[in-house]
């Protein structure tokens, strides 16, 4: 039944009602019924008054089932706005970065540049709408602008136009300036892409300025490294010279917790990204592994065997006030907080034999098993708190079918999907801050390398190529 029908029947009722209870009929009615009818019509009239439209603000009417698909976005190459010889290099870096950022966002259907009109616009007056919104381009959005070097600075103007809406096309108009270097141009491209993704992606900030931390043996030892989300700008952070594992960046990005092998055994260590060196953190003795941050950055959970068996402990971010959460006899490792609420912890436990994923409240109560079979490790909680992604051998044992793959599970319904397949061993998934991407480690190229994919398992990309690179961790913003 359509809504408009219902509305009109309400109108009819209100108008016809008094006529039906005319004076002639009234005479034969008894008093109680009459008052009931009077009340009824009063109510109807009142509800009618309440339902009066409010003219004061804007209304949107929309619904499901209208065919929501990815926005068809065209990103034309930016034009030079000055005559400086450095323009060409910077433009190439800028255009490539902008295109990759938008393409990687996962929410756009990028229109291939081969479909673009020959004349691309550099400023709003040059936009010919019919050339962009009609075939073969068929774009609904267009990003364009210009870039010019003057002296040591580069100035970029960027616009985002809704080319199907010729009456009021502008969605974004931005101006950026930075040092006239390729890094400066890349940074501006990241920022402009982030702005576009933020607007068209429903208020979810883009990840173009986010970082990925990982373990690499390129220097001869396993040390912690850092790179941009797209794999560029890879550089070494720690120089400890032993083995450092499981880097976890704090929510504000200022500190990096990891576990490292010392003379006394495995300890949690802390690295300050602001100071560029390791900072002091208490040593608990015995084996301490897999630290993780609470979403408010005030607590750290980790696995420690100082009580005999490896169990989950939680401590303040400074390392003080540590106490034990799990007390079972099997090993418990790899805790991860619910990133939305901070009130739940998922972890791996071997209490029933092979490792399985469990969840519990942040105070250690209400322990529940999540996976039902196989060999499940490395849980990572999604930013919206809805999903766990983890590494799973669904059938484990000699000759069992299947392999070590990344799975995604909806915590509330326990339904899962398999995100990777047919590609070596896949482990250590970690969510991007926007919840649209997952970074993971895979041996599909022959050696252990870092890869990313969209959270629906598509658009798989390799980020690292040299040495062995493992245990990626995506920054929180």
């Amino acid at each position: 039944m359509s809504y408009s029908h219902l509305k009109s029947s309400t109108y009819r009722n209100t108008i016809h009602f008094p006529v039906r209870t005319s004076a002639g009929e009234m005479l034969s009615n008894l008093l109680p019924i009459r008052t009931h009818i009077v009340r009824h019509s009063l109510l109807l009239a009142l509800s009618f008054l309440v339902a009066l439209p409010c003219f004061a603000q804007d209304w949107i009417r929309t619904g499901t089932g209208l065919g929501v698909e990815k926005v068809r976005l065209a990103a034309s190459d930016f034009k030079p706005s000055t005559q400086d010889p450095k323009n060409a290099d910077l433009l190439k870096a800028f255009n490539d970065t902008l295109w990759n950022d938008l393409d990687n966002a996962g929410i756009f259907d990028m229109v291939s540049k081969s479909f673009y009109p020959l004349e691309v616009p550099g400023n709003p007056s040059e936009v010919r709408f019919e050339a962009w919104n009609g075939p073969p381009t068929n774009a609904s959005m267009l990003a364009f602008g210009d870039l010019g070097v003057t002296g040591n600075n580069v100035l970029v103007h960027g616009w985002l136009y809704d080319v199907k809406n010729t009456a009021s096309p502008q969605v974004l108009g931005k101006q950026y300036t930075d040092a006239a270097t390729t890094d400066g141009a890349r940074l501006i491209a990241h920022r402009f892409a982030n702005e576009i993704i933020f607007r068209l992606g429903g208020g979810v900030a883009g990840i173009c300025e986010s970082k990925i931390y990982f373990v690499s043996d390129r220097s001869g030892h396993k040390e912690i490294w850092e790179m941009d989300y797209d794999g560029s700008n890879q550089h070494q952070l720690t120089h400890i010279g032993t083995i450092s594992l499981s880097p976890r960046i704090s929510p504000d990005g200022s500190r990096l917790a990891f576990s490292s092998l010392n003379k006394s055994g495995w300890d949690i260590m802390m690295y300050s990204t602001e100071l560029g060196r390791t900072v002091s953190f208490p040593r608990f003795g015995a084996t301490n592994l897999s630290p993780t941050w609470s979403p408010d950055g005030t607590h750290i959970a980790f696995s420690s065997s100082r009580g005999g068996e490896p169990n989950i402990y939680v401590a303040d971010a400074s390392g003080g006030n540590s106490h034990r959460l799990t007390t079972d006899r099997g090993p418990d490792v790899g805790p991860t907080f619910n990133r939305k609420t901070g009130t739940q912890i998922a972890f791996v436990s071997g209490r029933t034999g092979l490792p399985q994923i469990y969840t519990m409240e942040a105070d250690g109560t209400n322990v529940q098993r999540v996976t039902d079979q196989g060999y499940a490790v490395s849980p990572s909680w999604s930013p919206n708190g809805q999903f766990l992604t983890f590494s799973w051998f669904r059938k484990y044992g000699a000759g069992a079918p299947g392999a070590n793959d990344i799975y995604l599970m909806d915590i509330a319904s326990k339904q899962w999907v398999q995100l990777t397949h047919d590609g070596g061993r896949n482990d250590f998934p970690s969510w991007s801050p926007d919840g649209r991407h997952i970074v993971f480690q895979s041996s599909r190229s022959g050696t252990e390398q870092i890869w990313t994919m969209l959270a629906d398992g598509t658009k798989v990309q390799q980020l690292t190529f040299s040495g062995h690179n493992t245990q990626p961790n995506w920054s929180w913003k």
Binding site: A45, W59, R61, G63, D456, G457
Partner: protein
């Protein structure tokens, strides 16, 4: 006054109440007619207005990615969207009916079957590693096992403060997508296969937060109403309203079609 007053002989006087009642009803009629004449409609009809096109089926996903254009029931991620058409149905030859032998007809000798006649070979099945339609595409597991109804619809906008819908069509699209992503259909009673539309209204503040979520018209299925309300409540923000927009909030009417 005698102690045994006969109350049954005292008749109620209907004159004044009747007059009052008739007056009231006349008044109400006049009010109703006037209101219906002057209030007007609150918006355009469905499908009118300058919003988007009305296009068919969408798969609702709540990983915050746009819905996949191909609906799948698979749980393994796949880059290929599969074939665009289904396989033709195989022809099945019905066996000929056996004639009932007639007594009067002479039995003719059947011509001998030549030994060289080749038996019909089974047609070779085409070797293919193509993914059948609907089996490819991104996974659609916990977030979109059920497909949305292929309802036709459109946007209708109206406002005194401005024409938000046509000026900021891209924002309307964002709202639509975000709500669709956050609608978890497994919250709906699994015994329901089809339900009436449920209409919600809510406000979007300048910073993009949804507030004042209300069921405007129930579908009659409580779990569906509830899942729709929770879809809105689950959303932290739609993103700030366009900075050029002058109003302090936008009111959205959102409908949910459910069919499985």
């Amino acid at each position: 006054m005698p102690a045994d007053a006969e109350i049954f002989f005292e008749h109620a006087k209907l004159g004044r109440p009747l007059l009052a009642s008739v007056g009231l009803h006349l008044g109400l009629t006049v009010v109703a007619v006037l209101l219906s004449m002057y209030s007007g409609r609150r918006g355009d009809m469905w499908g009118a207005g300058g919003g988007g096109d009305a296009i068919g089926v969408s798969l609702v996903s709540n990983v915050p990615l746009p819905a996949s254009p191909v609906q799948t029931q698979n749980v393994v991620a796949n880059e290929s969207k599969g074939l665009t058409k289904s396989q033709p149905q195989e022809k099945q030859n019905e066996p000929d009916a056996i004639p009932i032998p007639d007594k009067n007809t002479k039995i003719k000798a059947k011509p001998a079957v030549s030994a060289t006649k080749a038996k019909p070979k089974p047609e070779p099945e085409p070797e293919t590693n193509e993914i059948p339609y609907g089996q490819g595409g991104p996974v659609s597991g916990p977030y979109g096992t059920f497909s949305a109804a292929g309802a036709k619809g459109g946007f209708g906008f109206q406002g005194g403060g401005g024409d938000f819908g046509s000026t900021y069509a891209w924002y309307v699209r964002v709202v639509q997508q975000k709500v669709s992503e956050n609608w978890l259909k497994y919250e709906i009673d699994p015994s329901i296969h089809k339900a009436n539309r449920v209409y919600l209204t809510f406000d979007i503040t300048r910073s993009g937060q949804p507030t004042h979520v209300q069921v405007e018209q129930s579908s009659g299925v409580p779990s569906l109403d509830q899942s729709a309300v929770r879809a809105i409540q689950r959303i932290d923000t739609f993103g700030p309203l366009p900075p050029e927009y002058s109003g302090s909030k936008v009111t959205v009417e959102f409908w949910f079609d459910y069919m499985r």
